[in-house]
């Protein structure tokens, strides 16, 4: 009887391509993961800017002129949404990845997230102050 019991276990197949579809928990994860596409594309925009910068003032003006276009605006808007989502999702995971034990107790997660948001605000303000 023993061998009959486990004779034919049934295996439920999972779709390799759309396992996340329609599952809010997995959809949120995928949204977080695809932010990398925006970041990847944007770093190449920065590299393009560096190249123009190295090639002199005319080349750089041409780069700015190319950027100043509907496509440039759309691209930057899309990337902005992507990177902000990246920042929020990244900071929200920090208490799990880097818990802090003070004395016996652990520092509450919201405090760790809050500290990251504070740092984010400071960094952003410094860049705005120096860059505008």
């Amino acid at each position: 009887m023993g061998e009959e019991m486990s004779s034919k276990p049934y295996i439920r197949e999972i779709s390799k391509t759309n396992w996340f579809y329609g599952q809010p928990r997995y959809m949120r994860y995928m949204a977080r993961e695809v932010t990398c596409i925006f970041i990847f594309a944007y770093t190449f925009l920065l590299i393009w800017a560096l190249r123009a910068l190295a090639n002199g003032p005319e080349a750089y003006q041409a780069f700015l002129a190319a950027l100043n276009s509907p496509l440039g605006i759309l691209f930057n808007l899309a990337v902005l949404v992507g990177v902000v989502y990246h920042s929020i999702s990244w900071f929200s995971l920090t208490p799990q990845a880097m818990p802090l034990q003070r004395g016996e107790e652990f520092v509450p997660g919201n405090l760790i997230i809050g500290a990251h948001y504070g740092g984010w605000a400071v960094v952003s303000l410094i860049v705005l102050f120096l860059g505008v």
Binding site: R51, L53, I73, H86
Partner: protein, 113 residues
């Protein structure tokens, strides 16, 4: 079971994820202004050139672009797998070669400034 060598790229992924989370939103906001025709000081030729001419500025620019590239490349590799593309060797090679190319380009452009 042998220990994995994933930590090389994961370390860069994690460091890059942190630096991009802190820094990129405001930088993208500035390039968005530039795209709208209101170029902020940082992205004018004179200012950016002066910043990149300084060795400390070079180091900052290189660090940010290098880590962003490797963060995004590694996460893209995982994302491809999540979308069901299982040719991991090819995908990994492609994204890491792109990141390496970006790194080399950044390095040489900075040297020329």
């Amino acid at each position: 079971m042998a220990k994995s060598n994933k930590p090389i790229v994961w370390g860069l992924f994690a460091a890059g994820g942190t630096i991009t989370a802190f820094l990129l939103p405001v930088v993208v906001l500035l390039t968005l202004f530039a795209a709208l025709g209101m170029t902020p000081d940082l992205f004018t030729y004179e200012y950016l050139h002066a910043f990149a001419a300084n060795w400390l500025g070079k180091l900052v620019i290189f660090g940010v672009i290098f880590l962003s590239l490797w963060h995004a490349a590694h996460r893209l590799r995982i994302t491809m797998h999540d979308f069901g593309l299982r040719q991991d060797l090819w995908i990994a090679t492609t994204v890491y070669v792109l990141a390496a190319l970006g790194t080399i380009m950044t390095f040489f452009y900075l040297l020329r400034i």
